[in-house]
Symmetry: C2
Subunit: 410 residues, 2 copies
């Protein structure tokens, strides 16, 4: 009789966003006149830029003509896109990344989730806490997490990031060395960043201990401060210890179009169990060629257009719009007496709940008094308790209105 | 120190299509005047139908306007597509499948490759032989294949399908019961089919032994004979033992656009290691929600258009065109004295190599004498030796010319 992967049964029901929706709906039932501003979801709202739209119309036309029809593309992505990524996201920033080190995909969620395929189940995993739940859940599925006790998995190393340490994760203690370290900067959910020097600490640690850093820079395009690295490969030695995940979702609004990429440098090598040198670039290439058939040609043409002169100008305008919202949230809520983090190089602001309220108590209070919905920080991990996330992806008008309500009613 | 999934190192280099390309290029170097007709690749060549093109233009416009913008969609696919699939591919054929049992994805290769995520690594896997290599390679990666000896994996059960058994796989012998059985009908690479009664034998076997059938019907749209089932769910009891994979790649030419789907009936339940009942529909839903972020909105709109009156008419014309090519190949090569299989309900013809030639010997002969390139059957598994695959995806003119050359020059 066939049997299932029992690790799936260890996962508790994923209830965060459904519970958020349930409470909002219940509130609206009893308060039908309330105009609830939703600032919980991490999805973009502005339409795609003109350059991408035009390129995708042309790509659709290509698919309608025999002479220009594109069937199966390279599993790694088309050269026109890999070349543009290498040039604009790396080489122009003096970062040494070759197009052959870039793997285009349908998005960073797939890639961060699937990357564990090429890694042993025996690796010890570390995550910052609070954390994007995909890192943890996919390792539970793979059998790397152990058992869930008091909201934490006993084989996962949690690295708390809270106001107590200025959101700078401390290196693991000497008694346990993680093999795989997930870092996401600019961070989801806290909206905070690491400076070059702070990130260097982690690269040095990984090189010293033979750890692999899985670096998620999905929010890179929101970086505005000079000392915040855009890529982990700005740090010396990172080509030997880090994989980087990027996405067009937040960069260019591609959450519905689906396109992202993963960088696996050719210097990233290790040994198999027999001591033979193995390149992670080759392993990931093999994984993608076997279990993936390339991202949509239309999506890839759209993504490539983001790198044209017009495209770069247009997506910057959209990101600036969201960053204006983030600034209004950050400054407005700080002025209102709240302790607020993030929101400078990221579309998220992370609020310390006042008066030692729990994350869910603050959620209920904000919904009831201000008709503003966000996301309870405790949903992102044990150290998220007592925090609350608001996103900058709503409209400017709604953002201003939300700040006004919180300032006057809370 | 981090360690890799050592199973990846067991995989030999995948050289089939690169070796085919190498030999063609070498031949063209020494015979620059030769006009080689390529009939090896399994990719479509006709452009997309008008209905899909129009729908995708409209979807691109949707993404360019704030009022109609679509960001993250449901991981399972949009209701407009799941409803159309349930209605046209199942309910109108009197097959009981609910939209909630359909999971839209970026293609059947991803789904057949990823489905093993929710299954234990201890399951015994059976494949028909020759076989689509993805089924085998993904199980090697997962650790279910054992060791490679003389071209076969020692933990995989191979079910030969050759002229000797009329390409009808025999049930496994009593001493070994596979837990997971991959069946692909209409078959890639042989182009052959099973009748309802022949498929019923496998459903009955699976129900009796608690096996799971992973049924790949990517070529369903090519079926023209009455007694060939379009879905495994036409067979009584299949809802309790089978998952079905479908794709718009061959149905509607979406190889570059990327859209497919997987059906996981809610009747498909098993027990976890503690004896608790588990629904595979829930497990796959959890897997997709965690490691996938939905197929492109534009691709899904294109796929939905395939089910409109115009769309269904237009894709039938394209499939009829390929089936005409298949008939010309089958009839022409049979008349030329070759033993030919498949090509009636599939875009592939499967040729017995004449005079006991190996698959590669016939490849070289056909390339040299006829300037026609196909795929050696031995590349698809041990029982593919002595066979050769030609595809119907070239143009009508080239197909006629290829038959003429083989008839006159071989």
């Amino acid at each position: 009789m066939f049997t299932i992967n029992d690790n799936f049964c260890k996962l508790p029901e994923s209830y965060l966003f459904s519970e958020v929706a349930r409470r909002i709906n219940a509130f609206k039932q009893t308060n039908p006149e309330a105009d609830v501003i939703r600032m919980g979801i991490g999805d973009v709202t502005l339409p795609l830029c003109k350059a991408a739209i035009e390129a995708m119309h042309k790509a659709v036309d290509d698919e309608g003509n025999a002479e220009t029809f594109h069937g199966y593309g390279p599993e790694q992505g088309y050269a026109f896109l890999r070349d543009a990524i290498a040039k604009y996201d790396y080489n122009k920033r003096n970062i040494d990344i070759d197009p052959s080190e870039i793997f285009v995909s349908d998005g960073a969620k797939s890639d961060t989730g699937n990357f564990g395929d090429i890694l042993s189940v025996n690796n010890i995993v570390a995550v910052t806490d609070p954390v994007y739940p995909v890192y943890v859940d996919t390792n539970v599925m793979a059998g790397r997490a152990g058992e869930l006790t008091d909201g934490a998995w006993n084989k996962i190393v949690y690295l708390p990031v809270t106001a107590a340490n200025d959101f700078i994760p401390a290196l693991p203690t000497d008694d346990i060395v993680p093999d795989i370290i997930y870092l996401c900067y600019p961070n989801n959910p806290t909206g905070t960043t690491l400076t070059r020097n702070q990130l260097k600490v982690w690269v040095d640690y990984a090189l010293k201990h033979g750890s692999l850093i899985l670096f998620d820079s999905a929010y890179e395009t929101f970086i505005r401060q000079e000392d915040v690295p855009h890529s982990i490969y700005e740090i010396e030695g990172a080509r030997r210890c880090a994989v980087e995940f990027r996405s067009f979702s937040k960069t260019a609004g591609f959450t519905g179009v689906r396109c992202g990429y993963t960088v696996v440098p050719k210097d990233l090598v290790t040994c198999d169990s027999e001591g033979k040198e193995v390149s992670l670039n080759s392993l990931w290439n093999r994984r993608q060629c076997t279990k993936f058939n390339g991202a949509s040609y239309i999506s890839q043409r759209g993504a490539a257009a983001v790198y044209t002169d017009e495209g770069r100008k247009q997506i910057k305008e959209a990101v600036d719009y969201y960053l204006t919202n983030a600034r209004i949230l950050r400054e407005g809520l700080t002025a209102a007496g709240l302790e607020v983090f993030g929101g400078i190089n990221a579309p998220y602001v992370w609020i310390k709940t006042p008066g030692n309220m729990t994350s869910w108590e603050f959620f209920d209070l904000l919904l009831k008094k201000c008709n503003v919905a966000g996301t309870p920080g405790s949903g992102f991990g044990p150290s998220g308790e007592g925090y609350f996330r608001l996103t900058a992806f709503n409209t400017l008008e709604n953002t201003i209105e939300a700040v006004k309500r919180i300032t006057t009613r809370l």
